[in-house]
């Protein structure tokens, strides 16, 4: 009996993680078009790419594996500071810095995961908050290493591959970030679609069921958490290398909240959910740049409340939500 290989993706209820291949070209083509037409907005574009990567990392930990973390910025910040410190003290080769920061953050994430992933629910949430607070406190105090309150200034990175200088207008930076995002996206999609990813999804849905089929739940979650941390660390390292500055804001509770918003806005477990969410958020934030940080909190807060109450599957879920509403109204008007 033959069985179709392309079953309904990771979770049948939500649309598949597989988009017809041709459409994949669109977002990346758009990104390249942006490169050529952006003008002064190129550095904003780089920031968007970095935030997409950060959000994608959270999708792996939270969206797929169901690890409710309110402190994911800890890994972003860890990667940022690691890359920054490396550049200042050891070598300002960008790729080396990127690789080392990614690895270190991944290891850190795995260690933290080993410690806290025995727990779940509210206890886990609080542990992620506590770890994040600890790290922020350390960054604040270790002035000699992190610059403390003043932050870290990162010198200019060496040319990429020895050839491409990091120019003032951010051309190299943008393509650098785009390439890194592309590679990590491929990896992330592969992870999420693999049997490993499916088992993570299973753990999210019902850990008890997964234990009953012999899944070593804790071990698997630790690996997922470590991978997610590594990804977030790469994003942080990119931020440090391209903006040449690292501050305490990278680690704080606001940053963790922001990435949550970006993910929920776009929709979890969607191939391009993280992309849509991060882009929309950063663009809207930039357009509203004149507004002071507290008015901005208002917008973020309202967004969160609205999305949770009305848009359960994020922006990527709008088409279905619209279809459901249309079907509902049609049946109401057409019946009896």
């Amino acid at each position: 009996m033959s069985v179709p290989l392309a079953t309904k993706g990771l979770a049948a209820a939500t649309p598949s993680f597989q988009i017809a291949n041709a459409w994949h070209v669109v977002p990346w083509a758009l990104a390249l078009v942006f490169y050529f037409t952006a003008g002064g907005y190129l550095s904003l574009g780089t920031h968007v790419l970095i935030m997409i990567l950060f959000t994608l990392s959270l999708d792996l930990a939270l969206g797929v594996a169901g690890i409710i973390t309110l402190g994911h910025a800890a890994f972003f910040g860890f990667g940022a500071y690691a890359a920054g410190i490396l550049a200042a003290r050891l070598s300002n080769d960008p790729l080396l810095g990127l690789a080392v920061a990614t690895l270190l953050t991944g290891l850190f994430g795995a260690l933290v995961g080993m410690l806290i992933l025995h727990t779940a629910g509210v206890t886990l949430m609080m542990l992620t908050l506590a770890i994040s607070a600890l790290l922020a406190e350390f960054a604040n105090q270790a002035h000699w290493l992190t610059g403390g309150d003043d932050g870290l200034q990162v010198g200019r990175m060496a040319p990429l591959f020895g050839l491409f200088r990091f120019d003032l207008w951010g051309h190299t930076a943008y393509l650098y970030a785009l390439a890194v995002l592309f590679l990590w996206s491929l990896a992330a999609w592969r992870i999420m679609r693999s049997p490993f990813g499916r088992s993570l999804d299973g753990i999210r849905q019902n850990p008890r069921r997964m234990r009953a089929i012999g899944t070593p739940v804790w071990r698997r979650l630790v690996v997922a958490y470590g991978l997610s941390a590594a990804m977030a660390g790469t994003a942080g390292a990119l931020e440090a290398q391209t903006t040449r500055a690292v501050g305490l804001g990278a680690l704080g509770v606001l940053a963790s909240g922001t990435v949550l918003v970006m993910l929920i806005l776009g929709g979890t477990r969607r191939t391009y959910g993280a992309f849509v969410g991060a882009t929309v958020y950063v663009v809207v934030q930039d357009v509203a740049a004149q507004i002071d940080p507290f008015r901005w909190m208002f917008v973020v807060g309202i967004l969160l409340v609205a999305v949770v109450l009305f848009l359960e599957n994020g922006l990527m879920g709008l088409p279905e939500a619209a279809r459901r509403v249309l079907r509902g109204s049609r049946s109401r008007s057409g019946g009896r």
């Binding site: 009996m1 069985v3 008890r208 012999g214």
Partner: protein, 250 residues
């Protein structure tokens, strides 16, 4: 005893001052069909939880195919060949019926760690899952999500998943619970078709099912084994009647 699949000796467990398992001894030979009955609160599900490792026993030993499994985590015991179904459906509700089984097969075959070169192996899991669903008569629902499935078919899925682990010992926790009596025969038929290599311990309240299915019955009361024997003997036993009906033994 080479063909004793499961051997339990002196299993004890108390929650504070409340004993829930007292000196329980049970042997399950390969191919055996044992029914575990007893009034509510007797500790039947507790016993299953002790066997699977979800609950840690205070004392006693459990041997699975001759090996001691006392210190092992529930996951490890599953890998050694001990599978269970749950009294309340414990399924991946967002996933399809076939995926529920396929994931279990992937776990069994240790494919679940793979990040590379998994297409072929996953396809095999899907194919085997489809076959398993066919065995239990729910192949037609393969692509539906669990949430869309009627309750009786969900119970069958529970059994399908447990069977796909190729266990040597299968613990069924009230497989027909909550299934409307009109649909229950489907479950009964599925249980009849269980392979002869598996040792099955079934908790049930449905006496028709127990007496039809079991070749030996163990009666549990307040954590203690009251008596055991062939179905006919248990049915005639005045002690058992008293426990269920509350009259003093004749």
């Amino acid at each position: 005893m080479a063909d004793t699949a499961l051997s339990v000796r002196g299993l004890c467990k108390s929650f504070g001052a409340l004993p829930v398992a007292q000196d329980i001894n049970i042997d399950l030979a390969l191919g055996s069909r044992v029914g575990l009955i007893g009034p509510n609160g007797a500790g039947k599900t507790t016993l299953v939880n002790l066997l699977t490792g979800t609950l840690a026993a205070d004392a006693g030993s459990i041997l699975l195919n001759g090996d001691a499994i006392d210190g092992l985590t529930p996951e490890a015991r599953v890998r050694r060949g001990l599978a269970r179904t749950h009294q309340i459906n414990t399924l991946l509700n967002e996933s399809t019926v076939r995926d529920n089984v396929a994931i279990a097969i992937a776990e069994r075959d240790r494919i679940a760690w793979r990040l590379l070169r998994f297409r072929q192996d996953w396809r095999r899991c899907l194919e085997e899952a489809q076959a398993r669903l066919h065995e239990l008569g729910i192949a037609h629902a393969a692509e539906r999500t669990v949430a869309e499935l009627p309750y009786g078919e969900q119970r069958l899925l529970e059994i399908a998943i447990a069977l796909s682990l190729r266990p040597s010992v299968l613990l069924l926790d009230e497989p027909a619970a909550g299934v409307p009596s009109l649909e229950a025969h489907v479950i009964h038929d599925a249980l009849d078709r269980l392979s002869a290599d598996i040792a099955v311990l079934m908790i049930e309240h449905d006496m028709d099912l127990v007496f039809r299915f079991a070749r030996e019955i163990v009666v549990l009361v307040q954590g203690r084994v009251l008596t055991r024997g062939a179905p006919a003997d248990i049915a005639a036993d005045p002690q058992v009647r008293a426990v269920y009906l509350g009259r003093r033994a004749a």
